[in-house]
Symmetry: C3
Subunit: 241 residues, 3 copies
Amino acid sequence: MIALFTDFGLAGPYTGQVKAVLADRAPGMPVVDLFADLPAGRPKPAAYLLAAYGPWFPPGTVVLAVVDPGVGSERRGVVVEADGRFYVGPDNGLFELLRRRAAARSWEIVWRPALLSASFHGRDLFAPVAARLAVGGPDAAILRETELSRVPDWPDDLPEIVYVDHYGNAMTGLRATVPPAAARLAVGGHALARARTFSDVPPGSAFWYENANGLAEIAVNAGRADAALGLAIGSPVAIIG
Amino acid sequence: MIALFTDFGLAGPYTGQVKAVLADRAPGMPVVDLFADLPAGRPKPAAYLLAAYGPWFPPGTVVLAVVDPGVGSERRGVVVEADGRFYVGPDNGLFELLRRRAAARSWEIVWRPALLSASFHGRDLFAPVAARLAVGGPDAAILRETELSRVPDWPDDLPEIVYVDHYGNAMTGLRATVPPAAARLAVGGHALARARTFSDVPPGSAFWYENANGLAEIAVNAGRADAALGLAIGSPVAIIG
Amino acid sequence: MIALFTDFGLAGPYTGQVKAVLADRAPGMPVVDLFADLPAGRPKPAAYLLAAYGPWFPPGTVVLAVVDPGVGSERRGVVVEADGRFYVGPDNGLFELLRRRAAARSWEIVWRPALLSASFHGRDLFAPVAARLAVGGPDAAILRETELSRVPDWPDDLPEIVYVDHYGNAMTGLRATVPPAAARLAVGGHALARARTFSDVPPGSAFWYENANGLAEIAVNAGRADAALGLAIGSPVAIIG
């Protein structure tokens, strides 16, 4: 399986052209859209999401992960193997948290396509490599083992909002095991208690809970947490008690 | 074929994870997105849409139907067979209109996955059941025949806007055969005459028509009915004459 | 491969029903969403996009191209073969630029389905024809060779914004080879110099560049060109120098 983890959007031409390359080069391989609406051009919040969502997929999955503000510059393209899944994308910190949390191998992509646009390596470089990995695994003809560029100043868990979903729920970069069970989370001027899920609190009430991929998430039962609490990507979160 | 009928959105992680489960457990089975933008957490308007759109699919289709504000509570998960199609989802009224309009059988899902999140039964419970139905039909090992919970106070046709599409057209919960052919529909303070389709009225004119799945729909030729008439989910509709 | 080029949106029922028809009639054929968010009901800007994006696909690809404000009227349905790709859709100018730029054959669709809705020929007429083309090529039983209706007053390159992507980048209807290499483009009251790609200019700077499909595109590094420059579909673009 190939999973797409990008800021490309679905309705415009970018995801579709990537899928056309994959259909051509990895025929019959299932392709799913994991995220297409990552915060545009911001690898840092995406890195915390990737470390939470990538390992949910079956071993052998290839995740095409592209949030790539430096496309066309000298930043490298890389492949990372972590816990049996493969990740393909730019070497800009996107794989930092995966790398910290798992034994990992990594390679620089040394192959270049005949036609490489300056602005769309997702289609021209990363998609062909993802297809090749999905069909045949790591291939020394196109990869050279290397160390990832590291971002040591990024924390192990990020006390910020990293994603707002289409219901208005706001995911944090904190694994839900980090705050003590009885802790409250302070966001947008409110201190929120933990609940198990939406139906455990009254309609209109805000709470935090462990989402279905292990992140601490801010939500309002039958409401939008982003609007109710004034939350956006980067809003700070503090653990109380 | 498996059709997805949800309020999950497409760009975030929910639909993608559901599709990953389906690709894993029903390999090669086509999966299409019927609706991913149903009114969030509102099974009532969704029930009228499902009864209009589900029967369009070929017999044997499995519709994964999840609008589930009570996820994690005691509400049951069910399977409904109606006119040769199968529907999987929460027992919260979503299947009420299908049930009224067709001979139907129904089952409670008694199977539980090893890992069941509190907030995402679409992925953890309903998708595996949909895959199993698509591959092998109803299976007594995971289902127990039961009656659906009923919602007798919901009308046979709902005189309200139940969906606004991305053009701004507003679908009602009325089958187009319900208003007399010469009737006007009153919405947003306007009384609209019937037309066959967009190109039959001048640009900028509002009208109602039978949409391609048999619902009465409010539209403006070359314009947005929602903005022009002030319509949203739940806006009342009255039949005049 | 079948590529979808429409203004149908992805989240609502239209694209999903088209894909259900394709899955039923061209089993196993890959289907990708090229554009689902073309300017609603406006074939002219779409025609310039189609001429830029269609030829990127492998020969043999069938492009289902539907921007169809005249659906249900007397406008014809057509098939165009241009440079080895097939295009299916309404005869309303959508194929004008493809036709000018390549040797092309064209056919009127004379087949009619048993059930043809007045408002959704994408599903009822064009999708079955696209499936048949993808499986077996042009078929004299459903097509009759004809000339396309022509739109001679549309220019060879359109000096307007034809699409705004989800990053806020604004594509023009100008092939990037049309402005001299050193020319500036005037849009929204600004005169912008050319750059190779985003990372070649400082964050916040506006520029124009050749996008990954050969169109001149207006962008802002790490910003939204549409908001920064006040651009929308139809905004005029002038070549300076």
